[in-house]
Symmetry: C2
Subunit: 215 residues, 2 copies
């Protein structure tokens, strides 16, 4: 089986926006609205990793949510997904947004120019790596032990890996809300149609799943 | 996490038929047509267990196909899914339709009145068990080691477990072909609407996925 680089459960607005420009500690997505509006389809599913109560739907949206860990052996994320800091690390206190039990449970490669020692929280080890996208991917594939690698975002990171033509599949969930300004994944999904097949699947929840795979 | 009983990738015609009445060694589904017509949507996906060449689609149909093993720790199947024999076992030569590498890779409980010793092929162990559906499910759950149990079919087995109200989720793929006569799962999916939520999801491949979960 080939090792794929997969974008999964990446959520954008109907006008293509994934995040705002002004991320802060209090506002990880930098959006003027509650980002829960974008993610509500996932939060309603039985397999949502942060679910604390029983129940939840087990239809189409749940298949997409529960695939999050399926055959994934490592994640690559941009530094802005890891935290709100910019520039050199002033301290090593910050260990991500996810508390003592990050949902990744694999090695995670945080893509940054600024070195920092690796550390482990529960089943997740964070490494801090620079270099070209292809170099980062090579390290992640080696760590993934034959499994696929998830490209976790944010939007700039996904765009750079797309520009380098390293992405094999993308699941982009388009929520029925317009945001107006922010960091865009695309102007239109058509931008990927030269290199990818796509299934466009409207869910009863109101979100439209776009499932791309390489031609 | 509760242990679920899940029907996955169960394929029927647009008139509800899963199999013919006259199963034989040469015709496992007992259908007058090539059963490949029902299953072609799954065979086209990258994750189809019997795929021998690289390639295949990675859109909606692939999510459903690749969920086959996701968090499954055991399977229950009817005797007619296991083989064409009826009545007491005349020999123990028959070891299923799947050759030396059955795709299950978990304990499999074959539901039959006719006892036979367990045996193992590669990563799959087949056990032969009688009793009420609830008893069979209790044994499968114990063997599944905390994971879910797949209810593999055939159609009579699924109907009996539905009648006993033991099924938690069902994925039924309805193919755009009429068969006319045979063993029916339902006259209409409405029959399940008193007990189950359902997402009805048309795939670009032409099949319509019905995803049921318990109310």
């Amino acid at each position: 089986m080939p090792q794929l680089l997969r974008v999964q459960n990446f959520n954008i607005s109907s006008d293509g926006i994934a995040a705002g420009e002004d991320q802060t500690l209090e506002n990880p997505f930098g959006l003027a609205i509650d980002p829960g509006v974008l993610f509500s389809w996932a939060g309603a599913t039985a397999s949502w990793p942060n679910r604390t109560d029983p129940g939840g739907s087990r239809g189409l949206d749940d298949y997409l949510t529960r695939d999050f860990r399926n055959n994934i052996g490592a994640e690559i994320m941009g530094r802005n997904k890891f935290g709100p800091q910019r520039g050199p690390w002033e301290s090593e206190e910050w260990k991500g947004w996810w508390g003592e039990e990050p949902p990744f449970r694999t090695p995670v490669f945080v893509w940054t120019h600024h070195p920092r020692p690796s550390f482990t929280l529960s089943d997740t080890t964070f490494h801090f790596v620079g270099g070209e996208p292809a170099e980062v991917l090579a390290r992640a594939k080696e760590a993934a032990d034959g499994k696929d690698v998830r490209l976790g975002g944010g939007v700039r990171t996904i765009r750079e890996f797309l520009d380098a033509d390293l992405v094999d599949t993308l699941h982009v969930a388009v929520s029925p809300v317009k945001l107006g300004t922010g960091l865009k994944l695309w102007e239109s999904p058509e931008e990927l149609s030269d290199r990818f097949h796509v299934d466009v699947v409207p869910s009863p929840s109101g979100v439209t799943h776009h499932l791309f795979w390489r031609k």
